[in-house]
Amino acid sequence: MRAMVYRGPYKIRVEEKPMPVIEHPNDAIVRVTLAAICGSDLHLYHGLMPDTRVGHTFGHEFIGVVEQVGSSVQNLQVGDRVMVPFNIFCGSCWYCARGLYSNCHNVNPNATAVGGIYGYSHTTGGYDGGQSQYVRVPFADVGPVKIPDWMHDEDAVLLTDAAATGYFGAQLGEIAEGDTVVVLGAGPVGLVAAQSAWLMGAGRVMVVDQLEERLAKARSMAHAETFNYTEYDDIVVEMKKQTDHLGADVVIEAVGAEADGSLLQHIAGTKLKLQGGSPIALNWAIDSVRKGGTIGVVGAYGPIPNAVKFGDALNKGLTLNMNQTPVKRQWPRMFEHVRNGYLTPRDMVTHRFPLEDISEAYHVFSAKLDGCIKPLILPSAA
């Protein structure tokens, strides 16, 4: 089969790989029909995630058709069209029993601090991912869901992570009616977070980024006020001015460890790897939120420490909520919202690349060329 393969930082290619096989009675093999590149994949692509091995196939956003099932699989049949949450989870450990699907304890031998994720290095379990023609799906009775007939494939693939994460981020913000909500980052995650903030009763939604095409999308897709942080000497001061010197009630951090905005932090973190990426967006969140306010962090950070302004967070009495998204927990409600047109994930798809062109796809998405907001990958073009 054909699969995307990591060759070292900034380098990937498509290779012929052996087909995945059933390794556990509850495994399924899925033929991928549509996949996507996530902002999280960029952290791997840039070599920031420890234990990213050469030969690894990335991809945790994918949908497909069940090709084969293990002997204990009851809920899926060969031929079912399924969407697969980016989390690999067992459904039965202490964490899964309590809905913390992204924190499953039974699927990732490499680390206890993070659950299992498809195609996301050995630090999340060493599973090859879905930017490929076929993929092994563990716990087939627990993760995958049959795609509803009415759902568009592009919405389905985005619901496996980016959209679910935006919606989850807004929940982490514990938004109350009338709240002023600031969303840092107008990528796929931030855009859906901004849409979701309104559903939870926000009175005002402001989105911060530096990419004009993304800010334009935040206005059209999420009815948000937008701020290009490069136009202000200090975006935190601007946020204070905008909120009558209170600060935002809620900030949703949808940027993560590769934030721009401080060249020094960027070089120290993502180039010299002296810290686990740059925490500038998280620090902006801490400084922009009002005292006693809440920050929902969905931007990704790895296991290497960051220079976070923890003192400000303490002195301001902040609540910081965060996690990898327990995707499947979001789905029933999100399906309604997509069906009603309240959430419109596929609005943000800008590019569709055949699997064979995935090196270019990564470069375009990583360098944010050509107005790229969300690139999809078509594996079975051949």
Partner: protein, 197 residues
């Protein structure tokens, strides 16, 4: 005494900035307020005990066969019942990885730094190995730089702060190659001199 209205909200007891009414918001934003009740949001409460809803039909999953001693965090009681089998450790990078897992817990910085080191060693080992195959690594095609021409590299970067660090990216990618080429040239020179002497 200044007029109270000039004093920003933060300094008085109530927010002065008016917000739109529910009706106005509903008219303007599709779906405004459908998730208004925090108790009715899908991830409320964080811990929600519902083991019968997950689809699992086991107390503890059957164990996947372990085909080699699977490296695992020493914070785990054992190798988890299910795990990924992609890219088993090999070569020098494999030795470093196995050592890091065996020696350090996740709380230790050394654990992660060794893994990052192993990643770099792995990339080098694999680049070298690739030269002995019919498909050597090609930094031009593998970095996808072709997209600079096909997808408007220059125009796309106008006025962006991150363009500054894009200048550094080629260095990160090409730097080691250039250094290696330089090293090779020096090495050959030394060798030639040694032979001549």
């Amino acid at each position: 005494m200044p007029d109270d209205k000039d004093i920003p909200s933060a300094y008085v007891k109530d927010k002065r900035t008016p917000t739109e009414s529910r009706e106005e918001l509903r008219a303007r934003i599709p779906g405004w307020g459908v998730d208004l009740d925090p108790a009715d949001r899908p991830s409320n409460h964080r811990l929600h005990y519902a083991p019968d809803t997950t689809g699992a039909h086991w107390d503890f999953p059957e164990r996947q066969p372990e085909k080699w001693p699977r490296e695992h965090s020493i914070e785990h009681a054992f190798v988890t019942p299910v795990f990924g089998t992609a890219q088993p450790p090999k070569g020098l990078s494999g030795v470093i990885r196995k050592f890091s897992y065996a020696r350090y817990g996740e709380a230790r910085l050394g654990h992660w730094l060794l893994l990052i080191l192993a990643d770099r060693v792995d990339a080098w080992e694999e680049h070298l190995r690739s030269f002995a195959t019919t498909r050597p690594d090609n930094p031009i095609t593998e970095t996808g730089v072709k997209a600079e021409y096909t997808h408007g590299g220059l125009a796309s970067r106008k006025g962006r702060v991150d363009a500054r660090h894009h200048l550094l990216d080629p260095l990160v990618v090409a730097g080691p190659w250039v250094a290696a080429a330089g090293g090779a040239v020096l090495g050959v020179r030394k060798l030639v001199r040694a032979v001549r002497r």
